[in-house]
């Protein structure tokens, strides 16, 4: 298809028109309860999605065929690249990543359209939400068409492309942005529902039921996206770290924290018809933070490895979009927040109740978000105030976020045990003291096995175990073991409602993650040495021998590979090959760490270069329990998805 690029451009322009139809028809349809207008609206949403798919496919095709007459392909791809990276090159740049963003935005629009077509209850809410979704799509398609067109042609054809930044040439990074975007953009659905609630002046249980599945999906995708990014940083950057508190990481963490608060507060709206206005505010802020996350960082305002664009017009257009997208709903919010719960007569809960516990959860999550935001923006503020250049690094975040997370972990296992409305302290205590005992015993065993732990390490591990006992206690409650006869316990466990199973898996994930963090933060070890071939060094109780340093030719790079043999205390040996790769096209280098992954931890070997005369630098890290970090995140993702799948699609009268 020689004119594929033009077809792609044209399809995107058509989609632009359709999102206008989607936004207007649905708004009018919801207002006048006109079934015809609503039908027109959701059909437009589905068509817009199909057109964006065509547009995206055409751009991908241009990358796959290495069509260097397209400016974007010429500057971001290369004919020698493996096909996977030709595809991931589509979103490895500003224009293409915006198109991916729009693709996911319209995908959510089409999915919402599918639901709108089927439901009879809450049609007007859904129609308003899809109308808002259409407005967001409209804004971003407009942004692409008018400021960041990926389909521009070059007048003179270059011989070959500039290549993709080699550090991005990695499977982890091929999948990390789409997953992260699925999360960021997914939060737009929660936002659209929040604005719909403000328009209708009502955020009741029915509304919460409609919105919560979407937020769960977005939350699960965001969790997976952040975890993939962290995993990539760990094995690709060669620094052995998994989280650097880089502005970009913080930008993804903030919407995650707010989305976490949101899935909990939506539950309160759904079950108890409380927290209406707070929940709507969270939904607006969650998407606002994802917009800020994706775009402020790209504007080049904050120094970061991720900055794509430094074009001021784009930055300003994006800023205007953010101001409209957050400002107008906040204004509506100020006018309508008081009326959101007007139809409900729910009585206020007692202080000692699950509502209070979830309120504490929300409060802590939001305070943590504000803390992360402060640390991220503080350098900008200080530079603006007195010109001093500062950086706020990991020590700040560890000292401020750490205690807040600790407090959350302390309350986490108790909350699910509390009853709604009013919990009975004596009932809870019967479950809490065994949990405390088990935690104490397990912690004592850990203390005996590992000596010389500091107070922070003990506290972190203790909290991890504590959260695990909470999961066990809740499963015990499902089995009825606290008050019923044990027969039938297994049957009751198998009949566990999916949302409750999902919640426990996610909470177990939090516990596993916490233990992983404790392992890496307090028990890691690193040694660096300059070795000649045949020399060895020790790390822990294992011996590492450098056996060779040799050149390797890759598909689009040349590398020097160092082979290191590890001999463990029990005589078992294993091989590590770490490479330094030089990419001639992009004129840059990357380091490939050699990592041996185990259940109890990783051994991470990095070749630091060198010459036969002065020796070769070998860096060995021991990273205990690091895989638990991603394992925990994986459990959270699975838990979120299970909860979403088992979530009722309409309100069941309890």
């Amino acid at each position: 298809m020689p004119h594929g690029t033009e077809i792609g451009h044209f399809a995107l322009a058509l989609a632009f028109g359709l999102t206008i139809t989607q936004a207007l028809a649905l708004f009018a349809g919801a207002r006048s309860s006109s079934a015809g207008m609503i039908r027109l609206g959701w059909q437009a949403a589905i068509m817009a999605f199909i057109l964006v798919v065509i547009s995206f496919a055409m751009l991908t095709l241009a990358f796959l065929r290495s069509d260097f007459s397209v400016a974007l392909v010429a500057s971001h791809s290369h004919s020698l690249k493996p096909w996977l990276y030709k595809v991931s090159g589509v979103w490895g740049n500003h224009e293409g990543s915006l198109l991916l963003w729009v693709l996911i935005l319209t995908l959510f629009g089409a999915l919402m359209a599918g639901q709108l077509r089927r439901i009879s209850d809450g049609r007007s809410t859904m129609a308003y939400a899809l109308s808002i979704q259409g407005m967001i799509s409209l804004a971003f398609i407009g942004l692409i068409l008018f400021t960041s067109n990926p389909f521009l042609r070059l007048t003179s054809l270059p011989d070959d492309g500039n290549g993709l930044n080699p550090i991005l040439q990695d499977p982890g990074l091929a999948f990390h942005p789409p997953m992260l975007y699925l999360g960021y953009v997914g939060l737009s659905v929660g936002f659209a529902f929040a604005v719909a609630a403000l328009i209708e002046g009502r955020a009741d249980a029915r509304w919460a039921v409609l919105a919560r599945r979407w937020v769960l999906l977005a939350w699960a995708a965001l969790t997976a996206g952040i975890a993939l990014g962290s995993w990539w940083a760990y094995y690709e950057l060669g620094w052995g770290g998994w989280w650097f508190w880089d502005p970009v990481e913080n930008a993804s963490l903030m919407p995650w924290l707010v989305a976490t608060a949101l899935i909990h507060s939506l539950r309160v709206v759904e079950k108890r018809n409380l927290f209406h206005s707070w929940t709507v505010l969270l939904a607006i802020l969650g998407f606002g933070l994802s917009l800020i996350g994706t775009f402020i960082v790209r504007s080049g305002l904050l120094t970061s490895v991720h900055a794509f664009t430094n074009d001021p017009t784009r930055g300003i257009v994006i800023l205007v979009i953010i101001m409209i997208a957050v400002g107008i709903p906040l204004m509506l919010y100020a006018m309508r927040a008081g009326t959101l719960g007007r139809d409900t007569m729910a009585e206020a809960p007692a202080l000692f109740s699950r509502e209070t516990a979830l309120q504490a959860n929300n409060l802590l999550l939001v305070v943590t978000t504000v803390t992360v935001l402060t640390g991220t923006l503080y350098p900008l503020v200080i530079e603006a105030v007195n010109g001093a250049r500062i950086s706020v690094g990991p020590p700040f975040f560890e000292a401020s976020v750490g205690p807040l997370l600790g407090l959350m972990l302390f309350f986490l296992p108790v909350a699910p045990l509390l009853a709604w409305k009013q919990a009975s302290f004596s009932k809870i205590w019967r479950q809490i003291w065994p949990m405390l005992m088990i935690t104490a015993v397990l912690l004592a065993i850990v203390l005996m096995l590992i000596s010389g732990m500091n107070a922070f390490a003990i506290a972190t591990i203790g909290l991890g175990i504590w959260v695990m006992t909470g999961v066990a206690a809740d499963l015990f409650a499902v089995m009825g073991l606290w008050r019923q006869h044990p027969t039938g316990a297994w049957r009751r466990l198998r009949g566990i409602p999916l949302p409750r199973l999902g919640m426990n898996l996610a909470h177990l994930g939090v516990a596993v993650f916490t233990i992983g963090v404790a392992g890496v933060s307090f028990f890691d070890d690193e040694v660096i040495k300059r070795l000649q071939i045949g020399d060895h060094m020790t790390s822990g109780d294992a011996q590492f021998t450098l056996t060779s340093v040799a050149p390797v030719i890759g598909p689009n790079y040349n590398a020097t590979a160092a082979t290191v043999i590890k001999t463990a205390a029990n005589g078992e040996s294993s091989e590590f090959i770490s490479e330094i790769r030089t990419f001639p096209v992009a004129r840059s280098q990357t380091t490939e760490a050699a990592i041996q992954t185990g259940f109890l931890g990783d051994t991470y070997v990095v070749f630091g270069g060198g010459t036969p005369e002065e020796g070769f630098v070998i860096h060995i890290y021991e990273k205990p329990f690091i895989t638990w970090i991603w394992g925990g995140a994986g459990l959270m993702v699975i838990g979120g998805i299970i909860t979403m799948l088992g979530h009722p699609t309409r309100r069941q009268e309890a």
Partner: protein, 145 residues
């Protein structure tokens, strides 16, 4: 607790929220006071940084200044006005080169900067924003505005 009036309950809730916010503000402020890292160029660092305080030093790596010995690596960092010697014992990043921008974090030890970390970005043409600003301040910036 069930016989608290709604007003009382709201009051207690507000108090809890204020307490949480107060705690958070305290944590943030004390953490900012202790953990903010200042960035200096070679000219400023002797005047403004205290001995032993963790700071960042940025500038250009002086040509032919890299020396390797048993203790690690030594090199000079300059803003084209003043140079300072940096000592480092870890692995240099992939794109650490003479004549290019670099940011290091560590502490001042007499006239020498003892670096714990050397940061460099993974792009040969990349100049850290802080270093670019620094060179602009010194009037020796040759890149684009």
């Amino acid at each position: 607790m069930a016989d608290l009036s709604p007003k009382m309950r709201r009051g207690i809730g507000l108090l809890l929220i204020l307490a949480a916010l107060g705690l958070a503000a305290m944590l943030v402020l004390s953490a900012l006071r202790d953990h903010v890292v200042f960035f200096y160029g070679p000219t400023d660092i002797q005047a403004k940084a205290k001995q032993g305080q963790i700071v960042r030093l940025g500038g250009l790596v002086v040509d032919d200044s890299i020396q390797k010995d048993q203790d690690g690596i030594r090199f000079q960092v300059t803003d084209q006005t003043t140079s300072i010697e940096v000592r480092y014992s870890g692995i240099l990043p992939d794109l650490f080169r003479e004549g290019q921008g670099v940011i290091t974090e560590g502490r001042l030890d007499g006239d020498i900067f003892q670096a714990d970390t050397v940061l460099a970005k993974h792009d040969e043409t990349y100049m850290p924003a802080e270093v670019a600003d620094l060179l602009k301040d010194q009037g020796v910036w040759k890149g684009q505005e």
